[in-house]
C-alpha cells in the first residue's frame, strides 16, 4: 500500500501542522494549510492529495463551501470533516455533497488513520 497524501485544512494552524507532523511520522505525506484559498492553491500547484481533512468552522470560506470547491476541482479526492463544531445537520449536508466521513475533535490518531486508509482506498 502506497502512503496517501493528506491535506489538512484548518484555521487552527497549530493543530494542522502538529497533526501533519504526526501523520508524516506514520509514513503519510501530509501538508497543513490555514484556509480554503491556500487549500485551492495547493491543489493548483499540482500537489494532489488523496484525502483532505477539513475543518468546518473557518473564517471566510467555511468547511462545506471548501468541500464543494475541492469536489469541483477533483471529485475523486476524498474529504473527511474533522471539527469541534459538529452537528448532525452539517454532517448530513456534507454526506449529500460527497463527504466521506465526519469526525469530532479531539480524535484518536488510530481511528483517524483507519478512516484515512478507508478513504484512500476508494
Amino acid at each position: 500500500m502506497t502512503a496517501h497524501r493528506i491535506l489538512i485544512v484548518d484555521d487552527e494552524l497549530d493543530f494542522g501542522t502538529t497533526l501533519a507532523e504526526r501523520l508524516e511520522l506514520r509514513g503519510f505525506a501530509a501538508k497543513a494549510v490555514g484556509g480554503a484559498q491556500e487549500a485551492m492553491e495547493a491543489l493548483a500547484a499540482d500537489w494532489r492529495p488523496d484525502v483532505v481533512l477539513l475543518d468546518l468552522m473557518m473564517p471566510g470560506v467555511d468547511g462545506l463551501a471548501t468541500l464543494d470547491l475541492i469536489k469541483q476541482h477533483d471529485p475523486k479526492i476524498q474529504v473527511i470533516i474533522l471539527t469541534g463544531h459538529g452537528s448532525t445537520e452539517s454532517g448530513i449536508i456534507g454526506m449529500q455533497r460527497g463527504l466521506f466521513d465526519y469526525l469530532m475533535k479531539p480524535v484518536d490518531i488510530g481511528e483517524l488513520i483507519a478512516r484515512i486508509n478507508e478513504a484512500g482506498a476508494q
Binding site: T18, L19, L25, G84, H85, G86, T88
Partner: protein, 579 residues
C-alpha cells in the same frame, strides 16, 4: 378571616389579592350578579301578581257586597209589597163599618196571618184617630192615635210604612198603613197592620253568608231598625258616615279594629229605611290566605331552587376560570422550563464546541511528543515521559467524553422525532437512578420484552417521562421496596410500559387530581415538589401521541401504565428490525 380579605367585588384595586382571595371574590361577584338576574325578575313578577290578585279580589268582594245588598233589599221589598197588596185588597173590599166589626176583622186577620209571617195585629182607626177595631195580643181597642205621627202620614198617603217605634205596647215594631175615603162622611179612615222587628231580623238573616259581617236596617236619624251583630238591637243609635242618594247602592271601605270591610248602603224604596250590609274585606277571605300561602311557597321554592343553582353555577364557573388559569400558568411554566433547558443546551453546545478545538491541539501536541519520544531510543526518562503523556492523553479523552455528552444533552433539548426503542430509554434512565434506588434499598425488577417494536418519539422527552415516573415511584417508597418495570407489545398498534411501586398508594380523591398542574403531595417533606412533574409528563406523553393512566390502592401501591403507538413504515410492517 377578616372581611376585607374576601371582598364582594373584584376591581382594579384587588389586583394584589392572593389567588385564593381573587377566585373567592370572583365567585362572590358571579353569585351576586346571577342572584340579581334571577331573583329580581322573579320578585317583580310575584309582586305584580300579588297586587293584581288583591285588586281582583277587592273588586270581587265589592261586587259580592253589592249583589248581597240587592238581594236583601229585594227580599224585604217583596215582603212589604205583598203585605201592602193584601191590605189594599182588604181596604178596597170592605167598608169602615165592616172592619169595625171585630169578628169580621178577626176573620180577615187570621187569613192574613197565614200568608204574612210576623204580622202582630190588625186595626182600623177612624178619621178622628180613635181605634175602632183591633185584633191582636195587646188589647189596644179604643186607643187614640190622633197625635201619632204614623196616623197623620197614613192619612196623607195611599200607603205608609213607618219607622220602628215602641208605641203604646212598648215593644219595637213598625206599621204598614193605608187609608180610604169613606163615601158617606167623605173622611179618611186607616187600616193598619203591625209587624214585629224580629220579622225584619229573620229576612235579613236570610242574606247571611260566610263573608257577611253584619246586616241591619237603620233610619235617616241613625236609629237601628233591626238587630245588628256589632251595634246592638233595634232602637239603638248608630251613625252612618255616608249615605246613598236615592236608590243607588253606595259601597265604601270601612275599618273595624284591625280588619277592613266593605259597607254597602242602599235605601229601601217607599220606606224610611236604609239597608246596611258589611261584607268581609278581600284580605279577610280564605281564598286570599290560600293564594298568599301558595304564592309564598312558590316564591320560596323558586328562591331556593334558583339560589341553589346560582351557588352551584358560580362555584362551577369560578372553578373553571381557576382551572383555565392554572392550565395557562402550567403551560407558561412548562414553556419557561423548556426555554431554560434549551438555553442551557445552547450554552452547553457552545462551550463544548469551543473547548473541543484547544482540546484537539493539546491532544495532537501530546500525541506528537509521544511519537517523538517513542522514536528516540536515547531519550532520558523515556518511560516516565511517556507515562506522563499517556496521562495527558487520558485527560483529553475524559474531557472529550464530557464535551460529547454535553453536545448529546444539547441535542436532546431540541425536539426531534426519531425511531426509538423503549427498552433502551428505560435502561438509560435507570442508569441515572439506580444509585439512588440502591441507596434506599429499593429493588428494580425489569421484565422487558425483547424485540419490542420501535416508536417514533423524541429521545430526550421520553427520558424525561420515564425519569419523572420512576423518580416518583422512588419518592413514594422512600425506603425498602420494589419497583417493577414491564414493557411489552399490547397489540399490533401499541406498546406499553408499566411501572409499579410498593409504596403507600394514593387515595382516590388525590388520584383524580394527580395529573393537574401544581397539584403536589410533597409539600410537607424536605423535598418539596413543584406539582409540575406529572403534569408535564402527561403533556409530553400526549404530545408524543401516547396515553398515561394510573391506578392505585392504598397500602398496596401505585401503577402507571404508559402506552405509545407503534411506528409503522407505510401502512404495514413495523420497522422493529431497525431499532
Amino acid at each position: 378571616m377578616s372581611k376585607t380579605k374576601f371582598p364582594l367585588f373584584c376591581g382594579p384595586s384587588n389586583r394584589d389579592l392572593s389567588p385564593k382571595a381573587r377566585y373567592r371574590c370572583m365567585r362572590n361577584s358571579l353569585l351576586i350578579v346571577m342572584l340579581a338576574i334571577t331573583l329580581i325578575p322573579l320578585s317583580i313578577t310575584s309582586g305584580l301578581n300579588f297586587i293584581q290578585y288583591q285588586q281582583l279580589l277587592r273588586e270581587d268582594s265589592q261586587a259580592n257586597a253589592r249583589w248581597n245588598a240587592e238581594s236583601a233589599r229585594a227580599t224585604i221589598n217583596a215582603y212589604l209589597e205583598k203585605l201592602e197588596a193584601a191590605i189594599t185588597v182588604v181596604i178596597d173590599t170592605y167598608s169602615f163599618e165592616d172592619l169595625s166589626d171585630t169578628r169580621k176583622l178577626e176573620q180577615i186577620f187570621r187569613q192574613l196571618k197565614k200568608e204574612h209571617q210576623g204580622l202582630v195585629d190588625l186595626s182600623v182607626v177612624g178619621p178622628d184617630g180613635i181605634q175602632s177595631g183591633y185584633v191582636g195580643p195587646y188589647g189596644l181597642a179604643g186607643k187614640d192615635y190622633s197625635d201619632s205621627l204614623w196616623f197623620h202620614k197614613a192619612l196623607t198617603r195611599r200607603m205608609y210604612v213607618s219607622e220602628v217605634f215602641t208605641g203604646f205596647r212598648n215593644v219595637p215594631h213598625f206599621v204598614v198603613a193605608t187609608s180610604q175615603k169613606d163615601p158617606y162622611s167623605e173622611q179618611y179612615w186607616v187600616l193598619r197592620a203591625s209587624i214585629d222587628t224580629e220579622t225584619l231580623d229573620r229576612f235579613l238573616a236570610l242574606a247571611d253568608t260566610e263573608a257577611l259581617e253584619d246586616i241591619f236596617l237603620i233610619n235617616d236619624s241613625g236609629v237601628l231598625q233591626s238587630g245588628s251583630r256589632y251595634h246592638g238591637g233595634a232602637m239603638q243609635d248608630f251613625q252612618l258616615t255616608r249615605k246613598p242618594k236615592q236608590n243607588d247602592i253606595l259601597i265604601y271601605e270601612e275599618t273595624r279594629g284591625d280588619s277592613n270591610f266593605y259597607r254597602a248602603v242602599s235605601r229601601i224604596p217607599n220606606t224610611p229605611w236604609l239597608l246596611v250590609l258589611d261584607q268581609q274585606g278581600a284580605e279577610a277571605r280564605k281564598i286570599w290566605h290560600v293564594f298568599k300561602d301558595r304564592l309564598l311557597l312558590t316564591l320560596v321554592l323558586c328562591f331556593l331552587a334558583s339560589g341553589g343553582m346560582v351557588v352551584w353555577l358560580s362555584r362551577f364557573l369560578a372553578g373553571k376560570f381557576r382551572e383555565a388559569d392554572e392550565t395557562r400558568d402550567a403551560i407558561l411554566s412548562e414553556t419557561e422550563h423548556s426555554n431554560k433547558l434549551a438555553s442551557i443546551g445552547r450554552l452547553a453546545a457552545g462551550v463544548a464546541h469551543e473547548i473541543n478545538n484547544p482540546l484537539a491541539i493539546i491532544g495532537e501536541k501530546a500525541g506528537l511528543m509521544q511519537d517523538l519520544v517513542g522514536l528516540d531510543q536515547d531519550f532520558r526518562h523515556k518511560e516516565k515521559f511517556l507515562s506522563q503523556l499517556d496521562a495527558l492523553q487520558n485527560a483529553v479523552v475524559r474531557a472529550r467524553t464530557i464535551t460529547h455528552r454535553l453536545l448529546g444533552f444539547a441535542r436532546r433539548m431540541e425536539t426531534s422525532l426519531t425511531l426509538v426503542q423503549l427498552n433502551e430509554i428505560l435502561q438509560e434512565v435507570l442508569s441515572f437512578l439506580e444509585k439512588d434506588a440502591a441507596y434506599r434499598n429499593i429493588h428494580v425488577i425489569l421484565q422487558l420484552q425483547e424485540n419490542l417494536p420501535v416508536i417514533r418519539a423524541d429521545h430526550g422527552q421520553l427520558q424525561q417521562v420515564f425519569l419523572n415516573v420512576i423518580n416518583n415511584a422512588i419518592d413514594a417508597i422512600r425506603n425498602d421496596g420494589e419497583i417493577h418495570i414491564t414493557s411489552r407489545r399490547e397489540n399490533h398498534k401499541t406498546v406499553m410500559v408499566a411501572i409499579s411501586d410498593t409504596g403507600p398508594g394514593i387515595a382516590p380523591e388525590i388520584l383524580k387530581n394527580i395529573f393537574e398542574p401544581f397539584f403536589t403531595t410533597k409539600g410537607n417533606e424536605e423535598k418539596k415538589g413543584t406539582g409540575l412533574g406529572l403534569s408535564i409528563t402527561y403533556g409530553l406523553v400526549q404530545k408524543l401521541g401516547g396515553k398515561i393512566e394510573v391506578s392505585s390502592e392504598v397500602g398496596v401501591g401505585t401503577t402507571f401504565i404508559i402506552t405509545f403507538p407503534v411506528y409503522n413504515e407505510g401502512s404495514e410492517g413495523e420497522s422493529n428490525d431497525r431499532a
